[in-house]
């Protein structure tokens, strides 16, 4: 389908990602998102300018942050008459914000804007228990003192324990790691393969940092200058010594080949191609197309393989095959997610079972996550999409006009988002 205009990635900015309860422990989502936006504003001289829209989101969100992105805009150096909206699709949030804004730009509803996301596992909201919440609401609504006291009398000591958010699927009661452990077993993903991918992620990210690749993409915050999870000296041998954390005693998933809980924020500056040229802004890559998909995980489907469906539909619509791509960015929720995704791409039966015409094929692994991904960088849920888009756009720009990149991000709820970028 021909869109009226071309949405391009002008650039990106993120905070270094921190380990949960690390350098950003005192920072809120508001603080982190404001820091990421202000860093982008400084990079592109946007101080005092009005953006057509800023769209952002967070997965772990306090009720007070109902207007998180707008409030961050008001704290940032952007003009205060910049509108903003919040969007949420679990770990797909960051990429969805880019798609949302790029679509508006392509349709002529916006010329320039910022998309991205933030998450803090350190500053996660804590809720009161459901019976306590009901009792407090009833007491608040009661009109007389006796009825208010009656409502409060229903509170039991056990109701007072606070509830911290858990990364558990509401319909299966399984954590994401437990779901992925089932997928790992089903797809025969070995421990060695996972550790190899994790080691490569750390080595690639470390090399990218050392080469200065992230100088254009990351602004230090609260004393942190590099991603805190990164272990440049890790190796397959070291990773092999770790005990499994998911899948029982015989499991293959460890803390080393699973993403750690992290804090951070990432944003991307998007603009209409003509607008960018007229305003002397760079254009790294254009967003070609995007697709979102879901699988029936309560019915037994692999929770984190929905992006396979999204990628399949996207390639079919664009008339492309995996061989047409120079880069693949597959979000490393777990090493085994990436490996199961690659196996699913090659699997005729699986692809047909999700409505695709056939297997998508194999890829050259040298094109995969070439500057590392979430295993090494960390994964502040809603910030990952912005990190990947800015990274991929920069890499494609280096490779030159017409080079293609495929992004695949899995999300809770059995969902997945995929997008195609083309270098400019």
């Amino acid at each position: 389908m021909q869109l009226p205009r071309t949405a391009v990635v002008v650039g990106g900015n993120r905070t270094p990602f921190a380990k949960a309860n690390g350098a950003y422990a005192p920072a809120s989502n508001h603080d982190l998102l404001t820091a990421a936006i202000d860093g982008l504003v400084a990079r592109f001289g946007l101080a005092g300018q009005r953006m057509d829209e800023v769209v952002g989101g967070a997965v772990l969100k306090h009720t007070r942050d109902f207007n998180l992105t707008r409030e961050a805009v008001l704290s940032s150096a952007l003009a205060p008459d910049t509108p903003a909206c919040d969007l949420q699709q679990a770990c797909g949030t960051g990429l969805e914000t880019v798609v949302y804004l790029a679509n508006k730009i392509a349709l002529g509803q916006a010329d320039i804007g910022i998309a991205g996301g933030v998450d803090s596992a350190s500053d996660a909201p804590i809720a009161v228990s459901e019976p306590l919440r009901r009792a407090l609401l009833a007491a608040n609504a009661a009109r007389t003192l006796p009825s208010r006291l009656q409502a409060l009398a229903g509170i039991r000591p056990s109701h007072l324990a606070p509830e911290t958010p858990r990364v558990v699927e509401p319909r299966t009661g399984l954590s994401m790691g437990e779901h992925q452990a089932r997928t790992t077993k089903k797809w025969d993903v070995t421990r060695a393969e996972q550790d190899e991918l994790a080691a490569a992620s750390h080595q690639h990210l470390a090399a990218a940092w050392d080469s200065g690749f992230f100088d254009e993409l990351v602004t230090p915050y609260l004393g942190l200058t590099r991603d805190a999870t990164l272990r440049p000296d890790t190796s397959v041998e070291k990773l092999a010594t770790l005990k499994p954390v998911f899948g029982g005693p015989d499991g293959t998933m460890t803390a080393g080949n699973s993403t750690p809980l992290s804090d951070g924020a990432a944003v991307v500056l998007l603009a209409d191609a003509d607008y960018a040229a007229a305003h002397h802004l760079p254009a790294l890559a254009r967003l070609v197309d995007a697709e979102v998909a879901a699988v029936d995980h309560p019915g037994g489907a692999d929770l984190l393989l929905a992006p396979v469906t999204a990628v399949g539909r996207l390639l079919a619509r664009q008339g492309l095959t995996l061989a047409d791509f120079d880069l693949f960015e597959i979000h490393e929720a777990f090493a085994s997610t990436v490996l199961a995704t690659l196996k699913a791409w090659e699997d005729e039966e699986y692809c047909r079972s999700v409505g695709l015409p056939g297997a998508l094929g194999s890829i050259d692994r040298a094109k995969l996550n070439v500057t590392g991904s979430s295993l090494a960088a960390g994964h502040p849920f809603a910030a990952t999409g912005g990190r990947i888009v800015a990274t991929a756009a920069t890499l494609l720009h280096q490779r030159g006009p017409g080079s293609r990149g495929l992004i695949s991000i899995c999300a809770a709820g059995g969902q997945g988002v995929a997008a195609i970028l083309e270098g400019m």
Binding site: P26, S28, H30, D31, T34, S75, P220, L222, G223
Partner: protein, 290 residues
Amino acid sequence: MTEVLPDLPDLRAAFWRGVMPRRPRPAAVTTKEVVVPGHTPDPEALARYARVCGFTLRDALPPTWLHVLTFPLHLHLLADPGTTLPLAGLVHVRNRMRLHRPTLLTEQLEIGSGIGNLRPHRRGALVDLTGRVHVGAELVWEGVTTYLARGAQVAGAAGSAHHSRDARQDSFVPATEPGGAGAIWRLPADLGRQYSEVSGDPNPIHTSRLAAKAVGFARPIIHGMWTHARVLAALENRLPDSYEVAVEFTKPILLPGTVGFAAAPRPGGWDAAVTTRDGSKPYLLARIDY
């Protein structure tokens, strides 16, 4: 003479030394200056301060936080044997500070303070506490805190030639009157305790009804420097990298309380006021100049 301290001194000791009754003597202040050569800001402490005052947590330190860092040195000089002013009778009447450039959380700071410019006032004497923050040799922030020492006697009468110079220096006129309240701030009863915890100011008139009553307030009052900080937090992204801000505390705010806030830009700066809820009477007037 400059006294060098290894780090910011304990506030409580200096405070209680300072509030001890002193033999009535002519007002005098020490000629000593005090400096802490190497202070590294604590991100956790800054985050708590930012949360209570409404600042976004950034790498750049709020100028009022730099004031908080000089405050223990102020108390140290006020509690010095060479200073005869009774700490319990001091009223913070105005404050002036200049941020020369954004000062970062990651920078090592030299924090210095002095006391002087003791001068007569119709209700006692005014005294200035100065603060300076350097990064290496570069002056990044400086401030002047003016206290009224109620009942203190200073040689020279109000209205003398000497005083007229000070009167000009002490007068405070916002360039334009900000309009009616644009925002409402609800100050909870425990705000004084919250700010005491993050600023280290141990004065019980902000936390205890009894202590507040002893100095003539019906309820605890919020720290003037909280109100000052809240004003800068409200304008945080509208202000440039370098500016001067002067505030006058015209009336204490009792806790809990609801107040109004108004701010208006003008060429080269802002005028702002914290007022009664209806905007009619000011608690604090602020003038910001770039």
